[in-house]
């Protein structure tokens, strides 16, 4: 099975609006998840696309022409709520029956005061407002808590401060700006987004990359995953004041980033992936240099992270904090390690088995969705990524690292999925009659998961917020685009 789909636009059946929403409901009731949902301007009207991913890995795209309004299904399928708000904000379409139609990014000349805040009544309720500038070196976002004493009733997350307008810019800029823009969707997920973009681009130009290029991309993606997971576990230990692991992991994360830098000169893997393959090859010397650094980093990670799991004071803070149940995770369609920590067995790598992930399997999950689960899930993934990288490095196929990418097919739609370190990344690209990009839609996994953080905080203590936030470690800029 392929992790992308490419279709001429004329082959995508345009449904009646009524049929579109009933089809969407049927698919979501059957357990499909929404991977992307957007409206493309078409004259004075809009064309509404929903990209659905079934449990067995089939990608289905449904489409309809809409004018003035769309029907909101968020009340029945909470996974849609942010997508619907996004459509309303970007197009000006009304969303009929949305429970909380706030803007998502405050674009279109709106100011931060144009949104509304959810308020709880009662004399003893107090409100805590945090951000956009937080304590710490972190991206901007605004959080509002409705509390009774220490207990949080509701956490509202308002983002948009990082909004740069990347989606709108892509059809307008010259070609050599595509990748630099995509790589900065979320700086810590440069490889994940660049690979997804490359998949879309290659699908539209019928280009197949060499096994060597695919393996090298896999190595870069897993290095990115390991670096971020190690960093996250360190940050979690820092938040419960267990400093040994925190200090060790902060440094080990850097060692893994430096391994990526040996590969391509940039710690975040910038400029490594290009449509058609990769920009840098490895020879024996580079391989050796990378592996010796990488093996040492992994060895250190094992000794640093193992300290956590039998430390009672750490476990006491991790366990039963910020729990997200399996049912909640499914309803919100959480993705990535956060979902797997709530025992949702969903991983793009295991679903599609594309090269070089053909042997990748998920083991049965029995985690209960608390901070411990999210930390432990990361640890399991670090171990798996290590094995993958070792295996690929030792068995690199020979061959070219890139093939010439041709021009894009006109009037087509392509969509691709990648399991980034935060979860499912999806990109959709639509071309015009000349084969130029006319519409581009990016979805960072954080777009699904922010609501999960809010749910994790329900009935929790406000003092647990930093810990819960770290355990999700979501991207502000990936959400804001």
């Amino acid at each position: 099975m392929k992790d992308f789909i490419v279709e001429p636009l004329e082959n995508i059946e345009v449904l009646e609006s009524k049929d579109f929403f009933s089809e969407l409901s049927t698919e979501l009731s059957k357990g499909s998840g929404i991977s992307s949902y957007f409206a493309m301007p078409q004259g004075s009207d809009f064309k509404l696309f929903a990209c659905l991913l079934s449990k067995s890995g089939e990608i289905k795209i449904i489409c309809s022409n809409v004018r003035e309004k769309i029907t909101s299904l968020s009340t029945f399928f909470p996974q849609l709520h942010l997508f619907e708000r996004e459509i309303a904000e970007k197009t000006g379409l009304k969303i009929d029956g949305h429970p909380f139609p706030n803007p998502v990014r405050y674009e279109n000349g709106l100011t931060a005061s144009s949104g509304k805040y959810f308020r709880l009544g009662g004399d003893e309720i107090h409100e805590v407002a945090v951000g956009p500038v937080h304590a710490g070196v972190i991206e901007p976002g605004h959080f509002r808590f409705q509390c009774l004493g220490e207990n949080v009733f509701n956490l509202q997350i308002e983002l948009g401060y990082q909004h740069r307008g990347i989606e709108n810019a892509i059809p307008k800029v010259k070609k050599n700006k595509f990748l630099p823009l995509i790589e900065t969707v979320a700086g810590d997920t440069s490889i994940g987004h660049a690979w997804t973009f490359a998949k879309v681009y290659e699908a539209l130009s019928s280009c197949e990359i060499s096994p060597r290029a695919a393996s090298l991309r896999g190595i870069a993606l897993e290095l990115e995953r390991m670096a971020n997971h190690v960093g996250d576990i360190g940050a979690l230990s820092g938040d419960v004041a267990y400093l040994p692991t925190s200090s060790f992991c902060g440094r080990i994360r850097g060692d893994i980033l430096n391994t990526t830098a040996i590969l391509c000169g940039n710690r975040f893997g910038r400029n490594f992936i290009v449509p058609g393959g990769v920009a840098f090859d490895v020879d024996e010397k580079i391989t050796e240099e990378m592996m010796s650094k990488f093996d040492k980093a992994y060895e250190d990670a094992v000794s640093a992270i193992s300290l956590l799991w039998d430390k009672k004071s750490v476990l006491d803070r991790f366990e039963k904090t910020g729990t997200v149940t399996t049912e909640q995770a499914l309803k919100l369609r959480l993705v990535g390690p956060v979902a797997r920590a709530s025992s949702v067995p969903f991983d793009i790598r295991a679903l599609f088995h594309i090269y070089p992930y053909e042997d990748y399997e998920l083991e049965p999950l029995t985690l209960n969705g608390d901070v411990f689960a999210r930390a432990y899930m990361r640890w399991m993934e670090i171990k798996k990524s290590y094995k993958l990288i070792k295996n690929w490095m030792n068995n690199l196929p020979s061959g070219p690292i890139s093939v010439e990418s041709k021009s894009l097919k006109p009037n087509s739609l392509a969509m691709a999925l990648t399991e980034g370190w935060r979860g499912e990344i999806s990109h959709v690209c639509i071309t015009d009659e000349n084969g130029n990009i006319s519409f581009y839609k990016i979805k960072d996994p954080s777009f699904h998961n922010w609501q999960g953080l809010s749910i994790a905080l329900r009935d929790a203590k406000i003092s647990d917020f930093p810990l819960c936030n770290k355990s999700f470690n979501l991207s502000y800029c990936g959400h804001d685009l």
């Binding site: 500038v133 010259k174 050599n176 700086g187 000169g265």
Partner: protein, 250 residues
């Protein structure tokens, strides 16, 4: 406790010897560029300008220059015309004035000017408030690591603090989006004078890849940087080196 001590012995002391010994970055690292535009024909100069995703190259009469303040160090120019642009391994790149980032033929890398009054006030203790104003979180990540044992900037008395009221200056990353403009201005105003301003990364310095996009506001005119640290993102060494030079510690 014994496990922690054993782990510490195993991990060893990882703090880098910088600034007492020089540090070498990996072989493919792209640092301060040397240019040789003189041999290029007009046609080649045009090609070079077109290849740059960030429009770093500009022509003033026949003299061509490259704006490092906007450069993401992607290396496309050097891959296409290795004779004209050559990225060196020099990672010490911070400067005190915006003009010092405009590289021309025969350009000598300028160093940060450590003003005596800055050294006197902040030389032994500098507390910074970091403001992320619309970037991609890579610069933030590379500022964050300055607190890890490898860089350990606290050994120089430098720290990131939570409140602008406790800060001696602000360190700005990101191109300053319209939605962050007011928050940045307020944070800056809340820092007591005398205060330093450090801009990190090509977005914050010149707009970088986002230059000219409609959601960008840019730095408020009253915020005048004392230190520019180029890169996308700059290597943590570049950031630390710049800050140390600014306060006269290197």
């Amino acid at each position: 406790m014994i496990k922690e001590i054993l782990a510490r012995i195993k991990q060893g002391n990882k703090t880098s010897h910088f600034p007492f010994r020089n540090i070498k970055l990996s072989g493919r690292y792209r640092g301060f560029p040397e240019t040789n535009f003189s041999k290029l024909s007009d046609e080649e100069k045009k090609q070079l300008s077109e290849i740059c995703p960030c429009d770093c190259f500009s022509k003033n009469g026949s003299q061509m220059s490259m704006d490092l303040g906007n450069c993401t160090f992607c290396g496309l120019c050097s891959a296409k015309m290795p004779e004209a642009v050559k990225f060196s391994k020099t990672w010490s790149m911070a400067v005190s004035s915006r003009e010092d980032l405009i590289v021309k033929d025969g350009f000598k890398k300028k160093n940060v000017v450590a003003k005596p009054e800055i050294k006197k006030i902040f030389g032994r203790s500098l507390k910074l408030r970091q403001v992320s104003a619309g970037g991609c979180n890579a610069c933030e990540a590379d500022c964050n690591v300055l607190g890890t044992p490898v860089f350990d900037m606290a050994r120089f008395g430098i720290q990131f603090v939570a409140s602008p009221r406790h800060a001696d200056g602000i360190l700005i990353t990101g191109p300053v989006t319209r939605n962050m403009y007011a928050a940045l201005q307020k944070t800056y105003d809340a820092v007591p004078a005398p205060k330093l301003v450090i801009v990190v990364g090509s977005c914050a310095i010149g707009g970088g890849i986002y230059r000219g996009m409609p959601m960008m506001a840019g730095l408020p005119p009253n915020i005048k940087p004392d230190l520019f640290i180029p890169g996308c993102p700059p290597n943590p060494m570049t950031i630390l080196d710049g800050i140390l030079r600014l306060i006269g510690r290197k």
